[in-house]
Amino acid sequence: MTDVHTPPAAPPTGTPASDLQDERLRRPSGPGGFLSLLLDRVRGGDLGLLPVVAGLFVIAVVLQVLNPIFLSSTNLVNLLIECVPVGVIALGIVCVLLVGEIDLSVGSVSGLASSAVAILFVNRGLPVLVAIVAAVAVGGIVGWVYAQMFNRFGVPSFVITLAGLLAFLGLQLKVLGAAGSVNLPFDSALVRFAQLAFLPAWLTYVLVAAAACALFASGYAHARKRRSAGLSSRSVSLLLARSAALLAGLGFAAWYLNRARGVGWMFVLFVALVLMLHYALSRTKWGKSVYAVGGNAEAARRAGINVRLVYTSVFMLCSSLAAIGGVLAAARLAAANQSSGAGDVNLNAIAAAVIGGTSLFGGRGTAFAALLGILVIQSISSGLTLLNLDSSYRFIVTGVVLLLAVTLDSVARRSRKSSGRA
């Protein structure tokens, strides 16, 4: 084929869109063709969110069989809220993993932020908003320092953040002082937001309907723009089906959760953060440069991207999100103490990002990885607690699931290489 302008031997439906004119391109039609394309992608190692969704399904079924309370409305309401603090931290981890780096100190930074917000708010009597902003700013500064060490001296992020893990744990203990624990008043706005604030039932349905409408409207506008530019586009019926599926899925979830206390505002905040990060990663210049730096930093530099600025923004974003997670954890617990952000917070956040499908090798993953990954981890935790198994089992099972996820990532990477999608 030498001239792409002439469409290949007239297909039945007239001239194909200008991006589908190559005769080597298979044009799937109907749901069957769509499925076979999907199957091809999975075989090629382009797994996307498929493994984590499948894993979540298996875990839910197994735990429900072992203990019928697991999928009850009450338990799910709690489960979703418990997800939020570590889930927010995992969002930041997704960003650093995308540029091919790591932050091991998110647990300590979240603990420091917990302590900072408690001290400033309770002991110093500052307004709660000021305390929150200050705590998050501390996180941002930590990320900025990491980025300077990384950019200027070329210290591996692994080592910088390992040092940060220890140093900020120390700082947290210092800030908390001899008492080692600060309680947040139960009637403060922060604690009420984390423990008692639920959406009224009608509002959940309004939001669900709005989400479905927004998905359809944006899809329709995009499809129309592509059509007018002579490109292939999704059909209206497909868009409608997609929105209807979303409406049905979220609507059912909302109804089921509303049988108990409903959807917590804190979870809504988490979802909003996920959507915002998703937009920033997929629809802005900054997002493209993050993926580019994770894929080939030298190529990104030669393309005129300020690679150092990308690293700085990502480290700062990660630490800031860790600090937000810490504030939410303190609010949820109504206290900050020496074990805030300690224990498994660090590893759960990293595991959530990886289980959700973010590649440890950089350049691959989405914001939804944090949401789905933390759901898996929290489900295991909640399910095993319901079975009266202590944390030893929880650690073991989470460890096994993490290993599975990383193995899947590595195998997928290999099959991407062999099928030319590396």
Binding site: M1, T2, D3, V4, H5, S18, D19, L20, D22, R24, L25, H222, K225, R226, A229, G230, L231, R283, T284, K285, W286, K288, S289, Y291, A292, G294, G295, N296, E298, A299, A300, R302, A303, G304, I305, G363, R364, R416, S419, G420, R421, A422
Partner: protein
Amino acid sequence: MASSPTRAPAATAREAVLSLRGITKSFGAVAALTGVDLDVSAGEVVAVVGDNGAGKSTLVKILSGVHAPDGGTITFESRQVSIASPAAAHQLGIATVFQDLALCENLNVIENLFLGQELRALRLDDVAMEVRSWELLRQLSAKIPTVRIPVASLSGGQRQTVAIARSLLGDPKVIVLDEPTAALGVAQTTEVLNLVERLREQGHGVIMISHNMADVKAVADRVAVLRLGRNNGFFDAATVSAEDLIAAITGAHDNVVARRATRTAPSTSSSTGKAAQP
């Protein structure tokens, strides 16, 4: 030098869009380039050939703004300019396709083409970018089935096409290709040489660094030989023989290739080329 006539670096009467005069660059005690001249005019392909260490890569880096020259002048569109950074080169209208292509394999063709130059920073205009990508690729008659696959799944020649298409994005006057065929197979090499031909037809000035005499003879209008950091002759690609080129590159007329050429074709004159001794 066997090939006799001494000529100015510009072989054509057309005004050069880019001309280098007396470019000098040293790295410590090593003089990588000494008084190098080079001209390229619109719609002309100038091949730069030379042995390892002849200074080809240094020349590319000076043109692309990676290194600043120690001495000499660069004239672009009759203005004397300095190329301080890759961005400055790009702004002037000098685009460079590096030997390793500098593509991000995890991104698709559109994302690679527009990397660092995306349309609408805060709400990417992917439709306009896709339309423009197809325009660029069709302009090059590129054989890429879809622009929505990661670059990792493209062949070497297709990747080279993407890299060249990306260099065309800012509508440059001069395109520098560093060893565009070095890593390619026979069919892909032909594909890339066709691209170079097409760039010339569209009025771009092309500077092609190459090791491959056959490629040079196939597409170049003129050949500039570098040897040990100095100009070692300018030849008309249509008339110069491979032996003359190799003689100029190695600096010795007496070598295996030349001896063999005289053995097998004693009638061939070796002074068809036009050479300049600095």
